[in-house]
Amino acid sequence: MANKNILLIEPGYKNKYPPLGLMKLAQYHGPYGKRDKVTFIKGEDPAAFGTAWDRIYITTLFSFEFSRIAQSIDYALKVANGHADKIFVGGIAASLMPEQFASRASWQGIRFIQGLLTGSPSKALRLDEYSEELYSDDHHGPAIEDLIPDYSILNQIEYKYPVRDAYFAYASRGCIRKCAFCGVPKLEGDQRDSESITALVRNIEALYGPKKDLILMDNNVAASFRFREIIAEIRDLGFVPEAKLSIGRTSVQRRVDFNQGVDARILCKDRAYLRELSTICLKPLRIAFDHLGLKGPYEKAVRYAHEFGLLSMSNYMLYNFHDTPADLFERMRLNVTLNEELGLRIWSFPMRYQPTWLPDRSHTGENWTRYQLRSMQLILQATHGVVSGEPAFFKRAFGDTFEEFDDLLMRPHHFIFNRDWFDFHGGRAQFDEYKREFNRLSSSERAELLSLIASVDPGDLRGQVRLATTIRVKSIMKHYFPLTKDEEAEIWARQRAMKEQDDPSIIVPDEERVEDAGLNYEEAPASALSETKRKKKEMAIA
């Protein structure tokens, strides 16, 4: 049949890795497959209205980006002139919360695909041969999931993925664990091995040229019985310490990244795991530290890593789940201690938990308040999402003790947002007055204050004052009223004049950061802030 017009859409959210599912679909339809005309767009491109599309595929990623995804689906329906039967939606969000998608009446007829495109293309895409749908007779072709991702489509869009010069592969899929916060059990199921990464790497190289890095998206590679073989395979592919890729006269450092992290509970069992990992150019070593219960295994794993010379480490730290702010602080503090003691460079990336079935980021864990979460987000915005393991910077950003951290989380947001201004410059007197009042509060008064400020949007705080039961709480509330636009503008203007010292954390390259720290995300009610204003804010932080 060939020459069909195929449109691939990735919604216009920011993300770190190229859409592998769409790349495989591009391979299926592309020059080595059905020889159709494949077009890839990110977001909504009005030019697509000029073409008669035979099929439209939309990928989805984070479930909390539902509204952005919905925008793309609505757009696709318009492009397809309402022919929902031409539209296929798949990917992570579509798999994690199918009912959110299926329940929308205006999307009736769109096929929402859960999980991977395994099995024959006809079956995986639920094509109907009776209605002679395009390629519905493809009962015996290889599974789309197993095709080589088509890297060439990435050149069709302006957006540059932070990680793109890489082989993306899985040495294993699924996970032995069933952590309540994780989408993997639902998405991939039990732990199992996957096809040889060597074949994939060689094929990508043959079709699209050599790639600098090897990104392995295994959820729990250490749990694989083939762990040693997998590492050996990576070595054989040339990804050994100090490996370089030469392109013309220049050569660049290569790296391997198990980007979903490695399980500390397994690493701590035997030195052999880290010994193996030290034989490849792993950068960084990512170890998940999701709650304080993992402290023992985590610390042990870090020490082993140090023993084998793996000094570049990175941490995922889940918060806003069943943890408390104290739990998070202790985890972050432990890294500072380890850094100091062992001379390491561990970067932590606190990641705020959102249930996988929730279409936005509104979840508040049982031991957190909305106010504290917003404070945490503001602090992280200033540090670009990274928790520095360098003691001075850590202390400055998060406090030296949990008490300081706890106070910080309760601080009026404009004090956090314009921290230097209120700590050292023009706002100091105001801040000192707040501190004086705050220090006078009893613990029950603090609790009352927190519940008052956490229960409404900052703009509505004035109405809360009358609910305060003591004079002291009533009095301190005034500090929480948000600054007027003019006041904010003035602070920013005066701050801009002062060159600040850079936090060393900004040297963490984009490709090593976490996929989504939600830093640019605004709370629902506050999202009324215009884009330009948000940009300004970001500038002010930078």
Binding site: N3, K4, D54, N81, H83
Partner: protein, 518 residues
């Protein structure tokens, strides 16, 4: 326990055929006649379609030479309320006559690439006349065959609450056959005669102009000679579509039916536009073959075309006969109204795109779906043209209004009755007006020809007002009046201008006042 066994038993139980119990009741006739053809004019389409197929066959078998026209005459007897539709196709020989004309849904034409293939179209007339007669003679036959449907009797039978007779019985009671000498009849023909046509609203079935209007849009008739895009379209479409143009003659004087397209287009009462360009379309089927050929005529897109122009809308034809109406593809336009701004036709080539039984739409299948998919961008492009044109008209209108207003201001200054301040203010407004015209010209929205013309007009305006702009304060028309009173006058005049809705009217008034006081 039974809950687990029952489903298994249900699944395993054998199915039986029920050949003996099948009943085809008389109600079917109603479905095939009245219910199928809601718009009475569609009867003409059905009979013309059969004629066209028969004429094609006559041509293929050599009965009709290349120089001979395939002719259909429609004669109307207003007094008797009869209509005869006669063609010079192959006709139907006596040996097949009864068999073919008393069969239902058993057309022998299916799968042979002809227009009709369901074998029900000939019943179209049943619901609209009292007696329906088919007669025919084929080459070499001495007698002609005739079959007559008694539609009144049929109606009575269908209305009775009795379930009998069944289909066969009912037809047996109302249909009669005979063979008579073919005195003074053509040697080869097929004729449908509808006798006692019922009165239906505005009696269109008997109106020659109405039939002409209808068939000019629907039937396979030729374009007019003077339609400038005729040859281009025929070359494109004729390459793969058997157009089978018929010479359809209606009424006593035999007015021939042509397609309604001409060079000009009446877009409103007495307002004409013209077709500037034809865009030829080729639409691919799902296997890469040509599914449709078509064309769109571009014009000024000044607004929705009136229904009476008979060409509006994106339309579709199968075997060069229109399927559905001018609103068939309305929903493909971003705004449905833009369909009425467009003029275009598609000819379906892919035999898998199949008109439905009523020929008011198509069977829903992947091939028709594919056609819609490919049409959507074309409809969007037309809509874009409509929008652009309406934006261009808006800016042209704005230009004109501002041009007039600017001239007016210049004449008011020249009148010389304003205070110094008012004159300066007006001069500023004139400059502003010129700048605005410049902006419109440079917007990049208007077509080059229009830009050139507007530029000329703007330059002329500039020359015309330059004197006023150079010396906004000139000798006052009120210079003879003492200064104190003059200021009062100037103030009042300024107020009159300020407060009046029309500056032109205000100026006339002030001209008169000036004539009186100076």
């Amino acid at each position: 326990m039974s809950t687990t066994i029952l489903p298994i038993m249900l699944r395993e139980a054998p199915w039986e055929n029920l050949a003996d119990e099948i009943v085809v009741g008389k109600g079917i006739l109603e479905l095939l006649s009245n219910s199928m053809y809601v718009d009475p004019m569609t009867i003409y389409r059905e009979y013309i379609q059969n004629a066209a197929d028969s004429i094609d066959e006559a041509r293929a078998t050599g009965l009709l030479g290349t120089g001979d026209a395939g002719r259909v005459t429609i004669s109307i007897d207003l007094a008797a309320r009869n209509v005869k539709i006669t063609d010079n196709g192959t006709g139907i020989a006596h040996r097949e006559f009864a068999n073919r004309l008393a069969a239902f849904g058993a057309s022998k034409k299916r799968g042979r690439g002809v227009r009709g293939f369901r074998g029900v179209g000939r019943l179209a007339g049943i619901g609209y006349c009292q007696e329906l007669v088919f007669r025919s003679r084929t080459h070499g036959e001495a007698k002609l065959s005739e079959i007559r449907w008694d539609c009144r009797k049929l109606k009575t039978i269908l209305r009775s609450s009795d379930e009998h007779p069944d289909l066969r019985g009912a037809v047996g009671q109302v249909v009669e056959l005979r063979r008579i000498p073919a005195v003074s009849m053509p040697e080869r023909f097929f004729e449908v005669e509808m006798r006692g046509i019922i009165r239906h609203r505005n009696d269109q079935l008997l109106s020659a102009p109405a039939i002409n209007t209808y068939l000019s849009q629907v039937a396979p008739v030729p374009f007019r000679q003077d339609f400038p895009f005729r040859d281009t379209i025929l070359r494109h479409v004729g390459s793969q579509v058997r157009l089978g143009d018929l010479q359809i003659l209606i009424g006593e004087n035999g007015a021939q039916v042509y397609r309604p397209h001409t060079e000009a287009l009446e877009v409103g009462v007495g307002v004409f536009d013209r077709f500037a360009e034809v865009e030829l379309l080729t639409i691919e089927g799902i296997d890469g073959e040509t599914a449709c050929l078509g064309w769109v005529l571009h014009h000024g897109y000044t607004g929705a075309l009136p229904a009476g122009c008979n060409v509006r809308g994106l339309r579709v034809r199968c075997g060069n006969i229109q399927i559905g109406d001018d609103r068939m593809f309305e929903e493909l336009f971003p705004e449905a109204r833009f369909n009425a701004w467009s003029v275009g036709e598609l000819h379906v080539i892919d035999p898998r795109i199949i008109p439905n039984g009523r020929r008011d739409h198509f069977e829903q299948n992947v091939h028709f779906d594919n056609l819609l998919t490919h049409l959507a961008p074309i409809a969007r492009e037309i809509a874009r043209k409509c929008r652009t044109s309406s934006i261009q008209r808006k800016w042209s209108r704005d230009f004109e209004l501002r041009e007039i207003a600017t001239r007016e201001r210049a004449t008011i200054i020249e009148q010389g009755a304003l205070s110094r301040n008012d004159r300066y203010r007006l001069a500023e407004e004139i400059r502003g007006g010129l700048a605005f015209l410049e902006v419109i010209i440079n917007k990049g929205i208007l077509p080059a020809g229009v830009v050139a013309e507007l530029t000329k007009r703007k330059e002329k305006l500039e020359r015309d007002v330059s004197r006023v702009l150079k010396a906004p304060v000139r000798a006052s028309a009120l210079s003879d009046i003492p200064a104190a009173r003059r200021r009062v006058y100037e103030q009042l005049i300024g107020l009159i201008y300020e407060c009046s809705a029309s500056q032109a009217n205000a100026k006339l008034l002030i001209d008169k006042i000036l004539a009186r006081i100076s």
